[in-house]
Symmetry: C2
DNA sequence: GTACCTGCAAAACCTTTGCAGCATC
DNA sequence: GATGCTGCAAAGGTTTTGCAGGTAC
């Protein structure tokens, strides 16, 4: 898994993303730029169907192209693939130094990003020491019922 | 999501599982008992292909039957379905009062169960208060490279 | 000009559903 | 005996691969 590089001063997210893609051997195609724009604007994980139906992408490139772009971005550490126990994978933009946890409604499937003071970072060191694993990172998901879904019963 | 019931004194895991299945309306079939036995013995999450090729199950029941059993068990809170960002779902036995976190090698895909003094429980209350979600539980996964995969490079 | 990227088609794979026959209660 | 469970077949989605043509470098 690649390391992410620090943004330069004054550089915004899209600029950082495009520069980093270039540095890691990707070509600056229209599809790539639009995909990054959509992912960054979303601020929450999106699956392929959601990405495909974004107006900026729907007539820009087809599903397979999106998959291949997302795979390349994932290999380069610019995007992260998430499970959420649904059939379709979710993808989220990774900006250096940022970490999100997620809150998912088990009824309606709604996904929110949380920016918690996450106590798990400290555990990572301990797990690395205990197990010999290296390059650890974590994903934390909360599942429950959102207020809207809790009303009926 | 169903609540799990407490085990009775002296009752082992398999007995608890079978009793709970019966109480929640499942029939005591050979396939169900073998599946529970395999899941409990595994002590780590298994996917359907792994379950299917377990000697106790391979000539006992087919893939579809396993799926349906696992779905019924999941609805009844006896089994939990996990994502792990792979294509196939993983299933793990849920014993009341136990919680596991997971450690997954991003190279070889090996999955280990961790029994951590997990600091996330305290956060659940805070997240419920902040967001209005109810019935929260969490899943925590660590990703990294296992010692064996770290050797080559 | 070369190497990579895109789009279309199709394959591979995992999951879900239908239905007749069988086992459990 | 009624109800639910099993096995086979097939459908429904998602993900992956092949290849000819186009685009970025």
């Amino acid at each position: 898994m690649s390391q992410t590089e620090s943004p330069e001063p004054g550089e915004d997210r899209l600029d950082w993303a495009i520069r980093t893609c270039r540095e890691r051997g990707l070509r600056r195609t229209k599809a790539l730029q639009e995909l990054l724009r959509v992912l960054i604007a979303a601020e929450r994980p999106l699956n392929l169907t959601e990405l495909e139906s974004a107006p900026e992408l729907s007539d820009q490139c087809d599903r397979v192209t999106l998959y291949r772009l997302l795979s390349r971005l994932e290999e380069r550490g610019i995007v992260r693939r998430l499970g959420f126990r649904e059939r379709a994978a979710y993808f989220t933009f990774c900006y250096p130094g940022e970490h999100h946890d997620y809150l998912i409604c088990t009824d309606c499937g709604k996904i929110e990003s949380l920016s918690l003071a996450c106590p798990v970072e400290a555990l990572e060191k301990q797990v690395m020491a205990d197990t010999g694993f290296s390059g650890l990172y974590h994903e934390l998901e909360f599942f429950g019922r959102c207020p809207k879904c809790a009303i009926p019963a």
